[in-house]
Assembly symmetry: C2
Homo-oligomer: 207 residues x 2
DNA sequence: TTAGACGCAATATGATCATATTGCGCCATG
DNA sequence: CATGGCGCAATATGATCATATTGCGTCTAA
């Protein structure tokens, strides 16, 4: 009965409830009692599986970032298989991080809430930095591939370019989320412009 | 004795204390009692001048954004007077918003803390959107000026470009602040690359 | 000179939370 | 059938806060 599998499932059950709470009421809306209620369990259970609230939050954030990363990797593989242009691949995977529809808005809100708290909580910052670095590597790899087939100028520093693209997407995300007056086409056009800056060429081979 | 001037000074005294608290302990570190202590006054005084904590925070944020905006305007005038290149002017005023030294880190932390809360508090979001729009206008104006003297291609949409540049700077700021492993030169280089994307030319006349 | 309003201090109130404590049912094992 | 430990539920504890209340000194104006 003490299966590890079972324990893991309970931890996830609570962590998922935390995500839902953040999406609905923001970070401030998360309390031990509410997390328990949302997960349909008792406060005692939550305490049993997490040594403190910080521990719970760190676990929940790790889950969020792992999911984001897994999606990025999956998408990269998918596109490698289909051999589309690198620029197209980058556009897709970057645009996916923008809060342009309700589902993405909810996800974005959760991820951003954690990022904002990471400014004060080094634990969360560490989780975040690890993930961002992995995503940057992913982007940098794609850009490097682009060099080989002429989509990207040889003198481009792939790692720097990845930093810039990722930062742009995060900034655009914040604006998009907060300012309903900002039209989505403008946001996407700016992403496109930035991509054009990095990948002036086009090619059909990938990887 | 009931001079308006006096009232204003007290309000500012408390609002400044709030800023210091955020810079030192983050948004969570702000309580009515601590704000009063930091300002060197009683809790009663704070309550007397602000109808609620939210009111106090909104006032403090308004002050922060007004200062940022005033600085942007001042810098624009300064550069118009000296007639440097527009690209130089944009670089300066954008780089200024990055947390690259301790003073800017503190300012950035305060501004970001408010922006993060703005996700949940529409009052703060309104304050923010107003300011961001003004700064974007400022940038857009500079870019438009660039068209007249050939620094900027005629087909560029100045407003869109401003959105992109501002978003990039905000994203770079977040990365810079959270990730000490990210070298400052890379961040500045990416800002430069983005500027090159918008202003491929150079010219010496401004305004 | 006194009535009252204003500016503020001190303290009370009550809500909310994270966490500590206690104990109970159930299952495995002896 | 004991017994002991594990998984949890229920509740207690104490801290922290925003805000309400109360009252006091001082300046103003009649």
């Amino acid at each position: 009965m003490a299966t590890e599998e079972y324990h893991l499932a309970r931890r996830r059950q609570v962590a998922d409830a935390v995500e839902r709470l953040i999406a609905e009421r923001g970070f401030e809306g998360v309390t031990m009692a509410r997390a328990a209620a949302e997960a349909g369990v008792s406060v005692g259970l939550v305490q049993h599986y997490f040594s403190s609230k910080d521990d719970l939050l760190r676990y929940a954030y790790t889950r969020v970032t792992e999911r984001m990363l897994a999606r990025a990797l999956h998408r990269a593989e998918e596109l490698a298989a289909h051999r589309g242009s690198i620029r197209l691949a980058l556009r897709e995977s970057l645009a996916e991080r923008l809060p342009l529809d309700e589902a993405r808005r909810a996800e974005w809100r959760v991820a951003f809430a954690f990022a904002a708290r990471a400014v004060d909580l080094p634990d969360l910052a560490a989780v975040r930095n690890r993930t961002e670095a992995a995503i940057r590597d992913q982007l940098a790899q794609a850009i490097t591939n682009g060099k080989e087939c002429g989509e990207v100028p040889a003198e481009t520093d792939a790692r720097s370019a990845a930093v810039g693209l990722l930062a742009l997407v995060e900034g655009l995300g914040l604006h998009t989320y907060l300012d309903p007056a900002l039209p989505a086409p403008v946001v996407l056009a700016e992403l496109e412009r930035a991509l054009a800056g990095v990948l002036p060429g086009e090619c059909r081979h990938y990887g």
